[in-house]
């Protein structure tokens, strides 16, 4: 223990003698470590934001869209022809055990008026389960009751963007807005979710009961038709199972022959998002790898300086060997020296990396996330760079011939 302390003192003194040189050598490690810290912080920040967005979309989510229309070879997009019905939704709910919630919905864009303000927004006619499925929560007011839902009641729940644009500072609960000139009572306001990855404002929306939308807002050709059905499975492992069973069930219900295409489509939305998450993973790995290269370059700097130091101190090494230093004493002395360089560089690099990242993210608004693991990883990596690149010069020192070393000028 005392010996280790003495070696540490010898190493620190040797480094203090050449302050400028030690500082420049450390700079390589500092840059490397701070780059690693910053890159990991940015990478995991991006990953966390994507994870939050996945959560905000609702977990274990499947969207069943009604089919596309085909007329004279011209095919419309999914949902252009309503082929799904409320009964389909009920059948999914009752017949597929992997399914937790089902919520049929129809959407449309409409002009909404309150007082002298008006705003064009998405109207989503749906059942109260939709809030549960998509992970919405209410910041004030309440959801629809089942009675309101069945009775096509003229009630609505507003997203935050709609509230801001129509009401300004007024509390919207209990106020009446006109959707397509039909008065609806505001019963609830949604807690904001923010933008999706692709920049769509999720809070620019109004929920109304499905029946109200069907009967009063978007008159349907056939009663009971819906554009889409949102389905939540019981767990992530149930999503695939539910997807297959829903497809099977709906093909049966729609009397589709094996040779025919589906008149509906089932989309696994979490799959889309988790592939985004994977690409964020790859990105942060790549950024970390690039940053590690600069750390290795810093390590080569350490090796270079240690070799110079060993040559400069040949005589000192000769004296030490002559008075009884063993090979491992000399080896340890120089290894500790390079370890001190790299670990001090590591500590400074962590500090500078964190400060730099905070400054960067405050300018660019990029999300960043520090983790204890990434900091420890960078620190240990710096240490092992020191040992790895310090070993060769230290070994060279320990193998010097004392007679020649003492004669060295």
């Amino acid at each position: 223990m005392t010996r280790l302390f003495a070696s540490l003192r010898i190493a620190l003194r040797a480094l203090m003698v050449n302050k400028m040189r030690s500082a420049l050598t450390m700079l390589g490690i500092i840059i490397g470590v701070s780059a690693v810290i910053a890159m990991i912080a940015i990478g995991s920040g991006a990953k966390q934001r994507i994870a939050e967005q996945i959560a905000s979309m609702g977990s274990n989510l499947l969207m069943v869209m009604s089919g596309s229309s085909t007329s004279g070879g011209f095919r419309g997009g999914a949902g252009t022809v309503p082929t799904l019905t409320v009964d389909d939704a009920k059948a999914i709910q009752t017949e597929i055990p992997a399914v937790k919630f089902v919520s049929p919905s129809i959407t449309g864009v409409a002009q909404v008026v309150y007082g002298n303000q008006n705003w064009s927004t998405v109207i989503n006619g749906t059942s109260p389960e939709m809030l549960e499925i998509r992970g919405w929560s209410l910041s004030s007011g309440r959801s629809f009751t089942q009675q309101e839902n069945d009775g096509a009641a003229k009630v609505c729940i507003l997203g935050r963007t709609v509230v801001e644009n129509l009401f300004g500072g007024i509390d919207p609960i209990g106020q009446i807005v006109r959707i397509k000139k039909i008065p609806f009572v505001v019963v609830g306001v949604l807690f904001p979710k923010g933008q999706t990855t692709w920049g769509q404002d999720q809070d620019d929306i109004i929920f109304v009961p499905l029946t109200a939308a069907q009967k009063r807002l978007f008159g349907m050709a056939f009663p009971g038709m819906v554009r889409s059905i949102a389905v939540q499975a019981w767990g992530p492992e149930k999503v695939k199972e539910a997807e297959g069973q829903i497809t099977e069930l709906l093909r049966q219900r729609h009397h589709i022959q094996p040779s025919q295409e589906n008149d509906f489509s089932v989309r696994d939305l979490t799959e889309v998002m988790s592939s985004a998450e994977q690409s964020a993973d790859v990105m942060s790995l790549l950024l970390g790898a690039i940053a590690s290269i600069s750390l290795i370059v810093g390590g080569i700097g350490i090796m270079n300086i240690m070799l110079v130091s060993v040559t400069e101190r040949t005589r000192e090494i000769g004296i030490r060997i002559a008075v009884g230093a063993k090979g491992r004493d000399i080896l340890l002395q120089f290894l500790i020296e390079s370890l001190v360089l790299s670990l001090m560089g590591g500590i400074l690099g962590i500090g500078i990396g964190m400060v730099g990242t905070l400054i960067l993210s405050s300018f660019t608004k990029w999300p960043t996330l520090f983790s204890i693991e990434s900091i420890l990883l960078a620190f240990l990596f710096a240490g092992s760079v020191g040992v790895f690149f310090g070993f060769y010069p230290a070994r060279k020192a320990s193998l010097l011939n004392p007679i020649e070393a003492l004669r060295y000028e």
Binding site: T2, R3, A6, G318, I319, A322, V323, G324, A325
Partner: protein, 226 residues
């Protein structure tokens, strides 16, 4: 009791590229405990090679060297380092102190490698420091000391482990004559009072006259021993 140092037919051949240099051509002698020996001879006579072998810094090509009856021939680098640490003290012409390191820390160096405890180390270092008459100068760095004082620090370092032999390679080579005489005074006192065996290389006859025995080397052989 066997002599402290016994060498028989020591031969040392260096290869310098194509050329073979015969540094020692068969040296036999023995040195008893408590002797003060001066080794003289012109440069290239093999006296430095002889000292290196005595100091276990080098191995002979042929012949036998027994230190306290023990043969160092088949020992590893680290084992030799340990014997040097325990039994041999070195004093060099150029002092060979560690720069930017205080006198006390220089003297302490062999004890560090001997893994002596901190308390014991402090005590032994102080003892060695006062043995060379440098009490109170322990915290000075070599650059703050005169040549004579630096050599005294070097002598204290050589003494600190209480070795069997003190090997001095031209210890007064870099000193003026007044300081040289002071250093020789220290050597005589160490030899007389503390019974330390001293083997010293010099090419100055008046320095050699401080020793009790003079050995003259020429062309790798002992030509005079009195």
């Amino acid at each position: 009791m066997e002599p402290l140092i016994q060498v028989q037919e020591l031969v040392k051949v260096y290869r310098l590229g194509e050329v073979e240099v015969h540094a020692l051509r068969g040296v036999s002698l023995s040195i008893e405990r408590g002797e003060f020996v001066a080794i003289m001879g012109p440069s290239g006579s093999g006296k430095s090679t002889f000292m290196n072998i005595l100091g276990l810094l080098d191995q002979p090509t042929r012949g036998q060297y027994l230190l306290e009856g023990m043969n160092g021939e088949h020992l590893s680098r680290d084992e030799l380092a340990e014997i040097r640490n325990q039994k041999i003290g070195f004093v060099f012409q150029g002092f060979n102190l560690l720069a930017r390191t205080s006198a006390l820390e220089n003297i302490e160096l062999p004890l560090m490698y001997a893994r002596t405890s901190t308390l014991k180390r402090k005590e032994m270092t102080q003892q060695a420091l006062s043995a060379v008459g440098l009490e109170g100068r322990g915290h000075h760095h070599p650059s703050q000391l005169s040549g004579g004082e630096q050599q005294r620090v070097a002598i204290a370092r050589a003494l600190v482990n209480q070795p069997s032999i003190l090997l001095a390679d031209e210890p007064t080579g870099n000193l003026d004559s007044k300081t040289s005489i002071e250093i020789m005074g220290i050597f005589q006192r160490l030899n007389g009072e503390m019974k330390i065996t001293i083997i010293m290389i010099t090419h100055e006859p008046d320095i050699a006259s401080f020793a009790k025995r003079n050995i003259l080397f020429k062309d790798g052989k002992v030509i005079e021993d009195r």
